[in-house]
Symmetry: C2
Subunit: 311 residues, 2 copies
Amino acid sequence: MTSPMFDRIALIGIGLIGSSLAQVIRQEGLAGHISVSTRSEATLARAEELGLGDSYALDAAEAVDGADLVILCVPVGAYESVAKWIQPVLKPGAILTDAGSTKGSVVEAVMPHVPKGVHFIPGHPIAGTEQSGPDAGFPALFQNRWCILTPVEGTDPLALEKLSAFWRACGSDVDTMEPDHHDRVLAIVSHLPHIIAYNIVGTADDLETVTKSEVIKYSASGFRDFTRLAASDPTMWRDVCLNNKEAILEMLSRFSEDLASLQRAIRWGDGDKLFDLFTRTRGVRRSIIEAGQETDAPDFGRIKTEPQSRS
Amino acid sequence: MTSPMFDRIALIGIGLIGSSLAQVIRQEGLAGHISVSTRSEATLARAEELGLGDSYALDAAEAVDGADLVILCVPVGAYESVAKWIQPVLKPGAILTDAGSTKGSVVEAVMPHVPKGVHFIPGHPIAGTEQSGPDAGFPALFQNRWCILTPVEGTDPLALEKLSAFWRACGSDVDTMEPDHHDRVLAIVSHLPHIIAYNIVGTADDLETVTKSEVIKYSASGFRDFTRLAASDPTMWRDVCLNNKEAILEMLSRFSEDLASLQRAIRWGDGDKLFDLFTRTRGVRRSIIEAGQETDAPDFGRIKTEPQSRS
């Protein structure tokens, strides 16, 4: 029998990401021991009920003690205090990584507290659903998704390769890039979409002339798509906004500029301009489907289509 | 054997909506004869290959001749010319309706051309997918969706009831409201979401610092959700923007105002404000799921979740 990739993996935080990691680690036999930590007693008890780990601790340091892979799966706003807390028990040679949605701020918050000999390699699996908590996790979450690693200068190539192999074993493809570039990419593909979704749902919720009941009844005409992202975890998204401010503000400003121009085309009845934009955007979805990052079923496959038998 | 609800139903336009109507009309036996018209030869030939109707005509007047139900399923920008064209053959007692996304402009464009004795009742089934053309249609499209009718003053109650019964037979629930109110409701639940989706996909496509390939690879982190609406039919959506200008501009202005306030909260690090908004929007999705207008599967059911067997 081959030995597992890691003797002991510590998961700090056991929400959607932590729980999914625990399940795929178990399924693929990647760890001799999975230690789980979260500061909420109820969540820890639930993780234990679900059998997600081999040991459970409210104290992150207890879970980290002796681990050769430590993965932070808590909202990025909690990183600095966790890093300080586990610092004394991080063992030389261990890899410390994370699954957070921002990377520049993570380097800033964690780096000063990483002991010599510990390999700190920030990471971000581009995977998730709108649900949260340990019950939301499932082992296939990372399948065919990308995981971005943002190694800092001087990172040990062997540790980087080992962490990459870990993510590939979880079903993901691995890319590496600079933390700042990651933050700009994610600002447009993830952070802006979430902020826009939260905003439009808020706008609809505030109307006086259209009732909430009408918004809900007729939501299948487009609105409901946005409510999925807008149902994501509030703590996680607050922390993303606070920790990727610069890139988000840049993307927001571009978005608003483009929207003002589109609004002007609507006001002045510039049909050609509208038609050009509405045509150009079609191709982007086709590319995403071809890249295997989206279903080709109409309406995300929500509707069961039963086409008439063809004559 | 009971006779069908209508002797002859004419479908003007045979895209997603017309094709779906043809199929559910056939399936439910709602017409003695289905006549199909579209001005594109290729589309008409495809509709005939699919066996969607009983007769096919490039000339809308030919399809409408003798029909007791006429449904306009073309982009709303084409309504006025179609209405003028079919005016001479609309028979007394016939119901003329449509499936367009705007209603105030439709009343304005069509009403002056409706002969005395013809019942003009504008309608809008709140159903669709991002796909278009006759191949995109399927008979279950209207199932459990709402259809909004916006009868004008003096509408014959019997004709209104007959059209309502038709939509119920297609699987829909029926609501009636004023055209202007419809346009305001749809501006927020459908038109604004589409415009925002088109806009954000355009913004992402224009970036210099993030490549198109990066946008596509990492789109599962949120962006891809928007590409569905932004893949909708450009002609239809150009016409919607041009024909519901006032309500759309009002909703856009509210959206931008709210976004400016959200942007300010991000700039100044107002975590509480962000958290409050991100929490409030969660409930809206729950209500939509409870109302049967959305799947409760995570990620729209795109991901097959295979949770670990519970211990």
